[in-house]
Symmetry: C2
Subunit: 363 residues, 2 copies
């Protein structure tokens, strides 16, 4: 996918708020899109779509077919809020976001974690998480062995998916490098890719992940040679991420490690409420804040909308509109740098609406 | 296993230094045992045993049968250093520590992370990691699907192993509570157990882990009721561990999450070189620093011996000798509190030998 601005047009965006604070933050994304300067020549239509645990409790279905069909046939992109997880196993329920990623072929989950002056510790990394396989294929079984229950789950790693995620990660590394040359707004001098694995134990499966990406890199050094290639075992990665996060640029990981690492990275910048993501496929992208449905603060109007606003920018970027995306990101950074109008998770006293209005003012 | 002091006797301890700095820190454990005051009535014999990647390169075997047999028939406990992992897949090589844990039936890996005044942030938690199953069973296969390689690994969770790890975790929680009542040397007022899982995705396998421990707790409230029972999804656990580590006391986790979490916890106290562990079974215990073989500092004489010294204390504790264990721990804490004679990983300038000597002086 090219990152050039396409011809002016009307974009249809699916809005899937889901549960809890998902309902409170998704409107922020919609408002930001509506407020974009006309110079970009973009207008938006929105379609409200259903999914989530509440939907499941009402209808018995967590991800209605209609939602998937509407996304596939009518939408150019989408925003997903959050879904709550039942505390105990509920028969027939299965996380709609995991299903959506697979059904829409969104093979990459891109999660940037960036420090803004004055907030947390210097970090500017992006976790590129494989989004379709690993233990997330959910092939599980349970059986009896000598009167005791034994459960098994399959972790699947394919050459194909590893290659695709490695490729997009390397491309993101190149692109970040280019942006950096123009703006010098980064803690990094040069680009690097860190491949995360546990192949000292899982030599076959994580071994395949690692080798596939290593081969991909080596086979096209003409293209990727300016990106430094590194590897980290997942446990040691978590340790280093907290001891010296500034050494990481692009990090690529199988699904589960990527899930764990991105929450860890969020802790580095002070709040999960800041961390955005994009679920990216060859033909579709869904922006998604990485936080959950946060039942503890639901309904209080204090959910941090920044993660959703940044996810909206990421959605635009991966749809091929980097300029409006950059403008949204700059408005968010300005809000954070000033550090006055912020929600309680960042130590502030402002409401969701206050923060949205401040970002809109800066657009 | 009871925690009372057994009758005075001679203990035979297996020493398995392994690779890299393993060879530099295991002698510290030996010296500390030899220096224990005679009032404990313990004397020690040591047996040097082989294992590791170097051993594999020399002989083609990473964990000689003789090592396992000697441990089983001649030793009362053991200390394991570290093994290096080959950077790329080496045919026939498989981590000896993973094999050892299984062959010796060491079903629990107990990893305390404790803050010492003046160092890092307040934390006093212990990660109790299941040590025999999960993805560590290493049942992997690779096959061709439409000309592409696909690899699969099995994650196995049994009711039996989950029950055993839950039980030892709850017992550790009760014991910590008791020690606390006597010493008031903790940031915790009361005991808690946090069960880590990802059953919002792995409802069958991680579901079994969670339900087994939850049932175990509920079925014996008379015994465990004073311990607060909590659950955390693994990604959110990593986030919380870094945002508010002081809320965690005993944390129990399947093998892989436990591996990742304990490296994360190590980052909280400033260095992997501080974090000890004990691999505990019903009849045997192996103390093991959680750090690796650290090829970057190998041979420089600056490896931090604290993790090994603490692991030596843990070995004694789980062998049934809590008093000498507590004395070793107190000597280490005194060294850390003074914060003068420390290795470079803690910002100091002292050598391994300097630190060992300082701890011996304080015994
Ligand atoms: C809700 C859950 C299934 C999901 C995941 O594990 O992918 C979430 O943690 C995330 O990171 O988006
Ligand atoms: C060396 C490796 C196999 C080992 C593990 O994953 O268990 C190590 O990381 C540990 O934590 O003891």
């Amino acid at each position: 996918r090219a990152y050039s601005t396409a011809a002016p047009k009307k974009l249809t965006i699916g809005l899937i708020p889901g549960d809890g604070i998902g309902k409170e933050v998704i409107p922020a994304g919609q408002q930001v899109l509506q407020a974009l300067p006309s110079k970009y020549g973009l207008t938006f239509d929105f379609m409200n779509l259903k999914a989530g645990f509440e939907e499941f409790k009402n209808t018995g279905v967590a991800l209605p077919d209609e939602t998937v069909q509407t996304l596939k046939t009518k939408c150019d992109g989408a925003l997903f809020g959050a879904v709550s997880s039942p505390t105990h196993k509920v028969k027939g329920y299965s996380s709609p976001i995991v299903a959506l990623r697979k059904k829409m072929g969104l093979y990459a989950n891109v999660r940037p974690v960036k420090w803004v002056q004055g907030q947390g510790i210097p970090v500017d990394m992006v976790i590129v998480r494989e989004n379709t396989e690993d233990l997330y294929i959910k092939e599980e079984r349970i059986f009896n062995r000598n009167g005791e229950k034994v459960a098994e789950a399959i972790k699947r790693i394919s050459e194909k998916a590893s290659w695709k995620i490695g490729k997009i990660a390397l491309e993101i590394a190149l692109r970040r490098q280019k942006v950096r040359e123009q703006t010098s707004d980064s803690i990094h001098k040069s680009a690097s890719l860190t491949v995360v694995h546990k192949s000292n134990v899982l030599s076959v499966s994580d071994g395949l992940f690692r080798e596939t990406i290593s081969n991909l890199y080596k086979q096209d050094l003409a293209k990727y040679g300016s990106v430094e290639y590194k590897e980290q075992i997942v446990d040691s990665m978590v340790y280093k991420m907290f001891r010296e996060p500034q050494i990481f640029d692009v990090v690529v990981a199988p699904n589960l490690y990527g899930d764990i690492l991105s929450d860890g990275a969020a802790a580095l910048v002070g709040s999960l409420g800041l961390v955005a993501s994009a679920n990216v496929g060859d033909n579709f992208v869904i922006g998604e804040p990485t936080h959950g449905s946060a039942p503890d603060i639901q309904g209080k109007g204090i959910a941090n909308p920044i993660a959703t606003i940044r996810s909206t920018a990421m959605m635009l970027e991966f749809m091929g509109y980097p300029e409006p995306a950059a403008q949204i990101m700059a408005a968010v950074d300005a809000n954070l740098k000033e550090n006055k109008i912020t929600t309680p998770d960042l130590g502030g006293k402002s409401s969701t609406t206050d923060v949205v209005e401040d970002v809109l003012r800066r657009l």
